[in-house]
């Protein structure tokens, strides 16, 4: 039954082959870590706005309890453990901005020792297929599920974007070091498949494609077995050659279908939805076991970790707890990388917690020869326009030109050259012989363009208001003018009438006569009425 496994029909431009370092962590089974004493649970672990806490300081909460709800766009957050809320305050949680984010500090009350990563014990909800789709999608929403590939886009919203013909399960995991999806597939392929089938049901999709790279043969084998065992139809595995960044959503789609998502549109415009391996597993747990998302599999790896592998880690677990658990030599550690080395984020504050977006934490020895990567004209060598970046760019941009425009702050040509299509994968900076922090420049350019647009919008609005005011004043003026004209005409008419009787004598006589007449009338009527009264 090799027809289940197919070679990727498409390919994408550029890409790179960085050293993988995956064997550090993909040989060991997933383990659960013991809970820390305190959890720091940020109220923003998703794309969207900061959630609002629905518990207060001092509250005793239990595992899985809803602790925060989205105010606008976002995802719910649940407690990963039985705990007491000790504080709700802005805390440093390793947000890319470096700014504090509102977070719950929880004191864990029952620090049960490590249990294995095993089946959920509650009973399976076998009725789910009979429930209406919207109700099921709401359940996914209530479970606080977001895209666990790293983008953390609320999954329910994605599930509502229909119609969809093909559900692609993204198991590329193309970044070096990261193996959490690989391990999850090796150990729990059946559950992932179950999740994929549920997601496909929710999307009314006709087929499911697992997209992966050829560097994960065990995962592919285990997935194949699961598919055969389940006798699920219209499920296949598409294997692409290992190349970074094949796991980028757009690149995955191009690999699997040979098509590109049109600029400014969603994958749904091609009838495609893409979900990550861990995400569909979370969907399964939510639908079948009413399990909210409170923990995830995280790869803990790097040359300082002796027991590198994948661990189930509750959200809110601070890095310092992991450093202790893994017995990492802190003196060798300058910073950790959250995520992969290509698109991750360096974190120097070890109080920062694992969140829904954390798929990997890399603990590497600090290197003395690597200077800090900052934008300063004299800090890096000049661009020699070798175009290696262009060769590496998966979206076919010209990074060398973008750099030129970024450095000279020419925002309009920068945008016109497609800066906003940049996915910040870092392939360009990886191959740059002058070690120019290209992605850094591009992020800067993007934020400047966003600013410029916001300002433009603002000034357009102001102009609109100004124009309206001008119009209103003009109208009032015109109205006044019309009124004056009318009045003037009336006066003119009156004057003309007067002209017919130059001295106004006749008019005066007429008026006097009229007055007399009225007086008379009044007198008679008054007499009549007084007579009546008497």
């Amino acid at each position: 039954m090799n027809s289940i496994i197919q070679k990727a029909p498409g390919h994408f431009h550029g890409g790179i082959h960085p050293p993988e370092f995956k064997s550090l962590s993909n040989q060991k089974s997933i383990e659960r870590i013991p809970l820390p004493e305190f959890l720091l649970l940020p109220l923003k672990q998703h794309i969207g706005s900061v959630d609002e806490a629905v518990v207060s300081v001092g509250d005793k909460i239990c595992k899985g309890q809803l602790v925060a709800i989205p105010t606008q766009f976002g995802a719910a957050i649940h407690s990963p453990a039985d705990a007491t809320v000790v504080a709700i305050e802005p805390s440093l949680v390793g947000h890319p901005s470096g700014k504090p984010v509102m977070a719950l500090k929880l004191q864990v009350s029952k620090r049960n020792s490590s249990e294995s990563f095993e089946e959920l014990k509650s009973t399976e909800n076998s009725e789910w297929k009979t429930l209406p789709l919207e109700q099921l999608i709401n359940k996914v929403q209530e479970a606080g599920i977001v895209g666990l590939g790293g983008a953390t886009f609320p999954t329910a919203t994605k599930l509502r974007t229909q119609p969809v013909d093909t559900l692609i399960i993204n198991a590329m995991e193309c970044e070096p070091y990261i193996t959490c999806d690989d391990r999850l597939l090796q150990e729990k392929a059946d559950e992932v498949l179950q999740g994929a089938l549920i997601a496909s049901h929710l999307l009314n999709a006709k087929q499911i494609i697992f997209a992966t790279e050829d560097n994960k043969p065990e995962a592919i084998e285990s997935l194949k077995k699961a598919i055969l065992d389940s006798q699920a139809k219209n499920v296949k595995i598409v294997v692409a050659p290992t190349k970074y960044p094949s796991g980028g959503e757009k690149q995955t789609i191009e690999l699997v279908t040979g098509k590109q998502v049109p600029h400014g549109q969603l994958p749904a415009s091609l009838g495609i939805a893409v979900q990550n391996v861990a995400t569909v597993k979370a969907i399964r747990d939510a639908i079948l076991f009413n399990q909210p998302l409170t923990e995830r599999v995280v790869t803990l790896t790097g040359d300082l970790v002796k027991t590198a592998g994948n661990y189930v880690i509750p959200f809110g677990t601070p890095v310092s707890h992991l450093i202790e658990l893994l017995k990492i030599d802190k003196s060798q550690l300058e910073a950790v990388i959250f995520g992969g080395p290509m698109m991750g984020q360096s974190i120097r504050d070890f109080g920062a917690p694992v969140t829904k977006s954390t798929n990997c934490i890399i603990f590497n020895k600090k290197k003395s020869n690597q200077h800090d990567w900052v934008i300063e004209a004299k800090q890096h060598k000049s661009c020699i326009r070798c175009s290696e970046c262009q060769q590496a760019c998966p979206v076919d941009l010209l990074p060398q030109q973008l750099l030129w425009f970024s450095q000279s702050e020419q925002w309009e040509p920068l945008e016109e050259h497609g800066l906003l299509d940049c996915i910040e994968c870092g392939a360009c900076a990886y191959v740059c012989p002058s070690e120019i922090p290209l992605v850094h420049y591009f992020r800067y350019g993007k934020s400047e363009i966003a600013d410029l647009k916001a300002n433009k919008k603002k000034s357009e609005k102001a102009k609109e208001r100004y124009d309206f005011r001008e119009m209103r004043l003009e109208r009032a003026k015109a109205e006044r003018a019309a009124k004056h004209k009318k009045a003037a005409e009336a006066r003119k008419k009156a004057a003309q009438d007067a002209n017919k009787d130059p001295d106004g004598k006749q008019a005066a006589i007429n008026a006097a006569l009229e007055r007399v007449k009225q007086k008379k009338n009044k007198q008679t009527s008054d007499n009549k009425s007084s007579e009546g009264e008497n």
């Binding site: 000049s382 030109q401 992605v439």
Partner: protein
């Protein structure tokens, strides 16, 4: 640890790229030395020194970090110019050419990465139009020369313009039967101007022997160029397009009138063809940077090389062709931008 992603970096550094290019020049340069004497070597050393000195001076004037010297780009410019000039060029001319290349064509524009023109070729063309006689006074290859300068004589020719025995460059250019030998390109051009036809020219044994030296120099640079391709130091588009275009243009002319126009093989293996195609036209800073643009850029260089060699006033044209196309590179880049992901009309298969 870097502040922002990516945290991985893997590439040849710019310094090493330049070193690799210099290294790949060695086979060709060695052959050139073999056929045309120590003057080649002396020029290379002189030009590299002057290039670095000029760079150092102007980095200082501009208040820039002297670290930039370590990128080896000045050395490369010096070496490329050193290979392009005759082996007996008076030293002060070399100094004028190299310092002009570095100071005016590179540093005044902002240094490495900001020069619109290939600095070595700017220096070369400056010398060529200022000192046309000296710049075309190539020695005959060692096999036909009646006197061939040894190391001391080469030094004396370059720095004192005559040897201790009173011989000048003109004497060294005379071959056995009293003729003055020019480069094959020059020879053919003059012969054609004098009304000779190709079949007459190729019967001259002196010319043929001289040609062999030039052929070997070109093979040397071709070999070095292939090394650059193999190490992915340069991409294939520009050299391929230059050579293909030279072949097509010269083949068309040759097919039109074989007696008046030289063969593709002649164009490929004489003059600065291989040096130009692999080492000069590929200077990334001043060349086109898009894949399609590089093809157009190369094709036009090849076209101009053959047409200027054939119809122009100068026997060699690589310098002119490259500078002309340097001028056009920004426009070429503008019109050959690749289609960005998702912007393709019709959104069909890739």
């Amino acid at each position: 640890m870097r502040l922002s992603s990516p945290f991985f970096h893997h590439a040849l550094s710019t310094d090493k790229v330049m070193l690799l290019v210099i290294g790949a020049l060695i086979p060709g340069a060695a052959i050139q030395c073999f056929y045309f004497g120590y003057g080649v070597l002396i020029n290379l050393v002189l030009c590299a020194l002057v290039a670095n000195l000029s760079e150092l001076l102007f980095l200082k004037f501009r208040g820039r970090a002297l670290d930039a010297l370590k990128d080896n780009s000045a050395t490369l410019t010096g070496i490329l110019l050193g290979l392009a000039i005759p082996p007996t060029l008076p030293f002060w001319m070399s100094i004028v050419g190299v310092s002009f290349a570095i100071i005016f064509a590179k540093q005044l524009y902002g240094g490495l990465g900001f020069n619109p023109f290939n600095p070595a070729m700017v220096g070369y063309v400056l010398l060529l139009i200022s000192f046309p006689v000296e710049m075309t006074a190539w020695l005959p290859s060692t096999e036909i020369a009646s006197h061939f300068p040894n190391f001391t004589e080469s030094l004396q020719l370059i720095f004192l313009s005559e040897t201790s025995r009173g011989l000048t460059v003109a004497d060294f250019r005379t071959v056995a039967d009293g003729f003055t030998m020019a480069t094959p390109l020059d020879h053919v051009k003059t012969a054609h101007t004098m009304g000779k036809i190709s079949s007459e020219i190729v019967t001259d044994p002196m010319y043929n022997t001289n040609l062999i030296g030039w052929n070997w120099v070109n093979y040397g640079f071709l070999f070095g160029g292939l090394l650059l391709l193999a190490t992915k130091t340069i991409r294939w588009q520009i050299p391929f397009a230059v050579l293909a275009s030279i072949i097509v243009t010269s083949a068309l002319l040759n097919w039109f009138d074989a007696e008046r126009f030289s063969t593709p093989v002649f164009h490929l293996t004489t003059g600065a063809t291989m040096l130009g195609a692999f080492f000069i036209a590929t200077d990334p800073v001043s060349a086109s940077t898009t894949p399609k643009g590089r093809l157009i850029y190369g094709v036009l260089i090849g076209f101009f090389v053959v047409t200027i060699r054939t119809f122009g006033g100068y026997p060699e044209a690589m310098g002119f062709a490259v500078l002309l196309l340097n001028l056009a590179a920004p426009t070429i880049d503008h019109y050959t931008r690749p289609v960005i992901y998702g912007h393709r009309q019709g959104n069909t298969n890739v």
